[in-house]
Symmetry: C2
Subunit: 425 residues, 2 copies
């Protein structure tokens, strides 16, 4: 059946379905992103008699119109994830990172080493030594913590000013930075391995060097440049001298897109660039009203990202992948609780359990890792589906456990509340 809906009609129905199911999952106490992913799965798989939702929405990839509409959705998803990750970076001020202190770092260290080892080891056990590229990505997907799911949960439950919340958010930020760097290495290593061991070493060195320069530039030099050239009260005031309307926001968009493009052109994921660009601008987020501006953009864009994630999941893969998904979920939850052995001494037993529960959700970051690896052809459809299911399952289990563990009373601190969640989904 040829495409009959105009593009704006396709976008309307997809947006309506994603927002509608997102509202439903929120009413069930789950993050909106789960409903949006389910919308994508539904579009790809719902068929009743001769009615196929995909064809009705003019998204059938076997028709010319369907291909154009899918390219359009893909473009909105690509832009959406860049803006989403930029907005997450915007919440992380490099100077705030220090405040979270030693406990966060120790928790993060445990939360990185143990889940990575569990995930990569499990995959190697399952697929043998030739499965090492997939093992790398599974390991990385178990390391990361969903800053968005966790921060939103803590804010909504009014636990943001507890010691546990500080430790959770600090550790989550460190884990995400390390996770993004690990993702960078995994991509570089697997790209290099295609051309033999010499190229592999060369590729790893190149990516390492680039990653180090990139991170240092965005953490230390970029904020200074922003202060010097973007700040209306700064010495150079580029944004003031431009005639372009909304010039500061235009420059910020260019920085965001440019950093993403730069990262992508060096075989890194575009989101790595967006994340560090966001961090570089974090201290100016209020001065330039960047949160509100990106909130408007993300309100439109982000559902398309999660729908596209769901579109790539077939119910056939789901049936085939569920044992793998269940195993990964067990490892994901177990891996974070295993870190309790680490820092229970510093925090006490119950707070340490709360911290572990708070770091269970893998959410959007785990899914981004899966999508990046799947898009590069480095993991199978089964494994992609299993990681997505694991990321969703942990985003349900983590909040549930946290509510149970907080039921026994909290330990408030007197420190200022940490960054609230961006685009809170």
């Amino acid at each position: 059946m040829e495409s009959v809906l105009p593009l704006v009609g396709v976008l309307f129905f997809v947006f309506l379905l994603a927002r509608g199911l997102g509202e439903v999952t929120q009413r069930l106490g789950l993050p909106a992103l789960i409903g949006e992913i389910v919308a994508g799965v539904a579009i790809a798989n719902v068929a009743i008699g001769s009615f196929h939702l995909e064809s009705w929405l003019s998204l059938d990839p076997t028709t010319a119109g369907g291909v154009v509409n899918r390219d359009a959705l893909g473009a909105l998803a690509d832009v959406g994830v860049v803006f989403l990750v930029f907005a997450v970076g915007l919440e992380i001020r490099p100077d705030e990172l220090r405040r979270f202190g030693r406990i966060s770092a120790a928790t993060a260290a445990g939360g990185i080493v143990i889940p990575f080892g569990l995930g990569a080891g499990f995959l190697l056990l399952l697929e043998g030594p030739t499965g090492w590229p997939a093992a790398l990505f599974v390991g990385v997907s178990l390391v990361v913590t969903s800053l968005i799911v966790t921060a939103r949960l803590l804010r909504e439950a009014r636990w943001l000013d507890t010691t546990e919340a500080h430790v959770i958010l600090g550790a989550a930020v460190i884990e995400d930075i390390v996770g993004v760097i690990l993702l960078t290495f995994a991509l570089g290593v697997t790209a290099g391995s295609e051309h033999g061991p010499i190229d592999l070493v060369y590729q790893v060195l190149l990516v390492s060097a680039f990653a180090v320069v990139f991170v240092l530039f965005f953490l230390f030099l970029a904020p200074r440049l922003v202060r010097r050239y973007l700040d209306p009260s700064g010495p150079k005031k580029v944004s003031v001298r431009l005639r372009t309307r909304n010039a500061t926001f235009v420059l910020v968009l260019l920085l965001c897109l440019g950093a993403s493009a730069l990262a992508a052109s060096f075989q890194l994921a575009s989101i790595v660039g967006a994340f560090f660009a966001g961090m570089a601008l974090a201290e100016f987020r209020d001065q330039y009203d960047l949160r509100a501006a990106f909130e408007s953009l993300n309100t439109f864009f982000v559902p398309f990202f999660f729908v596209v994630i769901g579109l790539a999941v077939s119910t056939g893969d789901l049936l085939a992948a569920w044992p793998l998904a269940a195993a990964l979920t067990v490892l994901a939850v177990g891996g974070k609780f295993a870190t309790v052995a680490y820092d229970a001494g510093a925090l006490g037993r119950r707070p340490a359990l709360r911290v572990a529960a708070g770091m269970v959700p893998r959410g959007e970051v785990g899914i981004i890792v899966a999508l990046t690896a799947f898009g590069a052809g480095l993991i199978s459809a089964d494994l992609y589906t299993a990681i997505v299911v694991m990321a969703i399952a942990t985003s349900v289990i983590g909040p549930y456990l946290l509510h149970r563990l907080f039921a026994g009373g909290v330990a408030p601190t007197t420190e200022a509340p940490v960054s609230p969640a961006p685009e809170g989904r």
Copy 2:
């Protein structure tokens, strides 16, 4: 040459080029949209030796990657024009329309009948009676006034509180509404004509009926529904009862996309729906901060729309079409000044000339008409190029004449200033 840039890189360079040339044209005293269109023309046509800008940007339509990237740009352009036109509608409060009064209406009447007659007559003269569908669109493209170019010009020159500005903006709004309705009819009539005279009558009746219902719904019923269901202090408060974050803006986006999709599915242009949806929400624009939200969206989206316009212009067509473009420009300028004969009595000779000059720019509205007709295969590439050039030329000539005519002093009024320009380009 196969695509090498990732999509985010394509978007970065296109956005950079468009914004950069937009800044240049603004420094020359011209609207930014002209620089953005030139960016598109440059991408499609710049070739130095073996270097083709289009291939370098991975936008060569003969490669698979180029097609995907072009689909992506097309999608951003489609969404961009819907949001742009919505934002224009947002500036037009139905109740403010009345304030502009009799002179605006008289000016608009002249500014509709005379340019339409000149444009359609000229095309019929040129192409004979079989050219009537193209004649309709050329007529419509000469009727419309660029609310964005004109309002921005008046605001920047601080003439917004003059009688002339009130008359110009009032007439421009009326002309755009009539222009959009005429566009609706032209599309309906030409679509119907493919199936013989009976279908033609049926199609015209259907489109007329739909257009009337649509316009009445959005002007009278929709604001009431918005007040009832969206207003947090209203009796139903849907947006308050939703868990979805930023729920009001989500509902506004759904209304905007839904109205566009509805209009498109009835053979109208999607922008007709977006325009009236914007008008329906105009009285709530401040309460819900809709201007700032759409400003953020449009800062990102709109340059892609103007770039895509330029992409469809080849320098070959430009060379072939320039006599036609020059003729249309003369008719466009002459048509508006011919209306001076009409209302010079009410305003006085010099103010009437100023009003005429203020209504010369066809800008984005003229281009949207051309793109809609070209996209539906109803006008030739030459004629498309000629209308685009006319729209650009009038957007340069109008401001120039207005500055000359205002040099002799202004007649300030005591009325409140009228709506400022959206996304001011």
